[in-house]
Structures are given as C-alpha cells and as structure tokens.
Symmetry: C2
DNA sequence: TGTTAGCACTCTGCACACATGAGTGCTAAC
DNA sequence: GTTAGCACTCATGTGTGCAGAGTGCTAACA
C-alpha cells in the first residue's frame, strides 16, 4: 500500500522526530537527506501520508508529526528486520551493562533492582520490573526450631530449594524430640502439596492426626497462610522517574504528576505489567494502552522465563516519541543476559 | 530582642506565607488580622524585621517573605510551646492514620511502608523512612536442613527470635545425623557471638574443630557473610514524590529533577537520614542542610527507638515553606504510635 | 514619641499590536 | 511526474501601555 518512496520519507520523518521532538518540515527533509527530491515533491508525499493517517499536523503552518499508526508500522517492520540482524548496541553499551550487573548482586532482588536501573539509564525512560514469585513450589518437609519454652520457628523447605519460615506458638514444655516427631509426621502427610493448597482445612486434618493442641494449630495456620501470601506476591521495581523529566514532553508538571501518580500505586503498576504477559517482546503505542493515564505513552515490554516458567516482566515506559530501536535492542540484550544469569545464579 | 508586636507580626507573615505561598504585604495583614494597626505602622515594623534578617523582599514592590532565620525562630518557639500542649491533629486525621496502619500489616516492612505513605499523604511532602536492621543480635544456634545429596540449608537462629538462612554445599553423602552432630558442635562454639563477629577466621577455627571439608567451609563462610551483610543493611522507604508537584515551589521541572535525582540514589538518602541520628525531633531549615541539593528544602526528622536501640528514622522533606506545625504534630503522633506497635507487634 | 494618612515611585503581570519566520497548499510551467 | 513560485496561515518573540499591589517617605496628629 505504501510505495518505497513514501515508506522512506515516513521513516525519515519518524526518526527525525524521535531525535528532535520537533515537527518535521519538507525543507528539513530535503536538506538533511539527499533524496534527489525537492521540498515541493516531499510536500506532496507528506500530504498523501497525512491522508493515509500516518502523519499529523499540530497546526497549519507546522511540520508534521508521526501518528500512532506510523509508529506501529515503524516498530513492526523494525522488529521484523531485527530478527535477522538483532543487536545494534555498541560495545560500550554492552560493557556498561555488564559492569552494572556485576556491581552488587547478592540475591534475586538485587538482580531485579539492577535490571530496573540499567533499563532506565540506557533508555532515558522509566523502567518497570515485575518479579513473579514462585507460587508453584511444592512442599518438601518442615522442621521446628525451638526458640523458647513457648515459641518455635517453623521452617518449610520446598522442592525448588528455597526455604520459608514463621514464628509459631507451642505448648509450654514441649520437648525438642516431640517437636521433631510432630514435624516428621506432618512432613510425610503434606509432602508434594503446593503451598497454596495447604489451607486451613487440610492443615486441620493433618494436624489433628498428630496432635490436638489448639493454640499451636492456630498459629500454624496463620504462619502458613502468611508464607503462602508472601510467595504468591509479586514485587515491583521501578527506575528512572528522573530521566523522564529530560524528555521535552514531560516539561509540563501536570503530565509528570499524572504519571508519577500511577507509578506510586504499586497495584496499578502490577496490573499494567500483568496485562501483557504475552510471551516475547510486546510494544504498545499510545492509545493501544488499555490503562487510562498512560494512553499518551508507549511501552515496550518483555517477559522472561526460566524452564518455561514466567519469572518476571520488564518494561520501559515513555512518550510515544520513544527511541524504539534502542529500547528494543537493550531489552533483547538484557533478556538474553538475564536468562543466562537466572539459569546459573552463582 | 524582638518585642511582642514584632513577634506577632512575624508570626502572621510566616503563617500567611506558609498558607498562600505569596509574599505578604502590609495591607493584607491589616485587613486579615485585627491588630488595631494601620498598614503604615505594620510597614515600619516589617522594615525593621527585614533589617534584623527575618524578612526578605523578592523585589521592591512585592510583599515580604520569611527568611530561614524567621522559620528557625518560629519552629523553635513552636516546639517549646508544643511540649505543654502537644497534639493539634484533628480526630479525623488520627482516625485516618489508624485506619491506614490497620490496612495491610504483615511484617516489619509493611509497617515502614505504611509509615512512609501516611507521612507523605498527611503532610503533602516527600517522606523518607529508614529502617535500621538489627545488627546487634547474637547467635543462638544453627541447624542444617538437608536439601539434596550435596546441598543443605543452614538456618541461624538469633537471640531476638529471628532466623536467617543460606544455601550451603555439603560433602556428598553426608547423613542427616552427621549434619546434626556438626550443627550441634558449631552451635556450642559460636553461641552468644554477634553475627558480625563471625568472620572467616573465627569460622575457620570453629569449623576445623569439627570437620575438615574445604568445600563446605567455603560455602559456610559465604553464607554467613551474606547473612551478616543483609542484617547490617538499612532499608529505605520513600513516599509521595507526587505530592511534591502540588507545591508551587516545585512547578519548575528543573527543581523537581534535582530532588528526584537525589531520592533515586538510595545511598544518598541513607546518608541524609543517618546524618541526623540525634535523639528526638530535629528540624533542619534551608541551608542548615549539609547536603547540596536539598539546601533549598527543609526537613523534619525523628528517630524512634525500641529498648533504647534506634530502630529507624523517619523524615519529611519539602520546601522551606512547610507546614511545620502540622508536620511536627503528625510526626509526634506517628512516633508514639510506632513505639507502641513495635513493642508489641502482634 | 509613636501612629497614621497621603502620595510618589517601583515592579510585575497582562493584553495588545506587530513583525518575523517556518511551513504549507496550490498553480502553472517544465 | 517534478518543481519553482507565491499567497496564506500560524506560532513565536518583542515592544508598549496600563492596572494593581506594595513600598518608602514625609508631614500631620495625639
């Protein structure tokens, strides 16, 4: 539908606008790029492109600005072409990323934190990183570690090698070996269950098979439901609200406030990130966004997996006039990097 | 040095300016407050106050604005008077605070999170909350929970009733009872130590008294240093960057960027909060702040303790034109509230 | 001696007119 | 199909004038 020349001109306009944030005029194009065309010809083409819905004019005597539809075309064809020759990151960029990751990684949270930081620094936009908690882990065994005469710590080990714990009340004077007997019995009965399955009823059943202390049962219930809640909780990491203020579209305080308001509501951020838990890379442009408040923004989002399981989602949120090429390249790189780290988190 | 009338006028100017963010003129004062004085008289007094350094004039024909020195006087005398009749929070405010705290408290982190949120909502400024980690806890005992043929989880129980854990490598084929023997021995030798004391050398000594497996020793060292690091780490919770944008002094994007930049650097925030680990309430006005970047802001800060130990620090950061009275009242209330909760976190 | 009315002066903010420049759309010629 | 030329539009920047708020000073008053 678009001939090569229109395509070329559209691309030039998009990239120029992404760079300068100023409406692009026909003269500018003719001057900057050696197309062998006069401004008048380019004007005619631009007029066509506007009619086709790819360009918009802020006012009569301004240059033109790409529409959401134009970005869509641009991104789609870019994603296609990137399948063949993916990376456009400079050596420098990659070195920077590597060094940032090496900086201070002690646990999973640090990995996500670093990812958020890197994403925002490299793309000059807000980054959102969502860490899914493993809710599919299965119960392996539990153990009580005595603390005092009336309290103990319950440790639950799951088959993914992780451990959770909670404080529980025990009958006064219960001995260590009694506790061990109890935990052994309970472990046998609960083995293989998902943590979320271990609700009040099941626990009641299992527990009453081995003991009958009401106080301890109650605190067990509470501790386990706490652990289950913690495990099914998603965590959000944000980065780079500051960078946003460098973008000309966010010189208006009202707009900044709007976006900051959204980012401060953890629940909203989670919803946004969970909405696109597609596989692979997803670019949402302007009003394609379902959430009010970011309808004038674009978002590039990617989920990453480990053994087929979604571990998390990362996204870059910014004005529709976003450096899509760079953002996508960074995302692709981080994606690979993360999957390597996650496989072998030494 | 200031007679009563000057004092009174100064107070009126400060409070009016805090409310309106506009320079205050002599006519306004005469109209709003029934002082029995004409604008001209007030003008004379204001002229004196300016000479004394309490007032400043943005330009010749504007009203006057309180200087840092004026705020200092205002805050000091207010803190004094609040010792007698402390609270000025409305019933409504208190109810709001209570309900926010009840909302979703499952662990310590939630308490700090809520505090940050409440502080910023109630004061319309940025809130910073620093949670000190208990680095003074003493080792009680440790226990190994087997995971696989070559791995186990090490659980360390401390005398404050908390537990930490880490993954360690064990010699292939080591039995559960061998692990128990090891942990029992080690527990006896390490009992009563601070976690930070348990460094590589001490551990080497203790461990070689009970076993000689190099791999396990290495992973033990690593796990314990991780735990010690985590325990001595301070955590920061922020709230209400959005509220800031409601303040007229932050309509300028440059200033917002400046402050956001600071808030995004966790290390800087920690430094700021740690700098004032005085006891009790501390108000820092404008250039009294030692940190560049917040020299045009004021900060109200309070540390809270549990059994004499500093548990954390909370602060409100905003323009020098801050509602000191309200901020201080909220802080006082939260202070009491928190110390109650912390004493008995049911 | 303290207080006040009056007045000239200063500065900001706003509205308005005007020129400038960038950009377009259209037409006619190549 | 391409291009030069021209009239037209609109945003932006600048200068002017005016109203309003506020001050400082002086002289009169109690």
């Amino acid at each position: 539908m678009l001939n090569d020349r229109k395509r070329k001109i559209l691309q030039i306009i998009i990239e120029d606008y992404i760079e300068t944030a100023e409406p692009v005029g026909s003269r500018t194009i003719a001057r900057k790029h050696n197309l062998g065309l006069s401004p008048a010809t380019i004007r005619n083409e631009m007029s066509d492109l506007e009619l086709l819905g790819y360009l918009e004019q802020p006012h009569t005597s301004a240059g033109r600005v790409p529409s959401a539809q134009a970005y869509r075309l641009y991104v789609d064809s870019m994603v296609d072409s990137m399948k063949e020759e993916p990376g456009v990151l400079t050596e420098n960029d990659m070195a920077l990323i590597n060094s940032w990751y090496k900086e201070r990684i002690r646990n999973m949270d640090d990995i996500f934190k670093s990812t958020a930081k890197i994403l925002s620094r490299m793309t000059q936009n807000v980054s959102l990183v969502l860490a899914n908690k493993k809710s599919t882990a299965r119960f392996k065994y539990l153990k009580f570690l005595p603390l005092s005469d009336t309290q103990a710590i319950m440790c639950i080990v799951t088959d993914d090698g992780a451990m959770d714990n909670g404080l529980i009340d025990i009958p006064a004077g219960m001995s260590g070996s009694e506790l061990d007997y109890l935990s052994g019995k309970m472990s046998n009965l609960l083995k293989g269950r998902r943590l979320t399955e271990i609700n009040g009823d099941l626990l009641q059943e299992v527990y009453s098979a081995v003991s009958e202390d009401e106080v301890m049962l109650a605190s067990l219930k509470k501790a386990i439901s706490n652990i289950a809640a913690k495990n099914s909780e998603q965590k959000v990491f944000l980065g780079g609200a500051k960078q946003l203020l460098n973008q000309p579209e966010f010189q208006d305080v009202g707009r900044v406030k709007n976006l900051l308001g959204i980012l401060e509501e953890e629940k909203v951020v989670k919803d946004i990130l969970n909405a696109g838990d597609d596989s692979g890379l997803k670019v949402t442009i302007g009003s394609e966004n379902k959430f009010t408040g970011i309808k004038d923004c674009s978002m590039v989002q990617a989920t990453y997996r480990l053994n087929g399981q979604i571990v998390g989602t990362m996204a870059v949120l910014g004005p529709t006039r976003m450096e899509y090429r760079k953002v996508i390249a960074v995302m692709n790189y981080l994606h690979k990097y993360l999957e390597t780290i996650l496989k072998d988190p030494k």
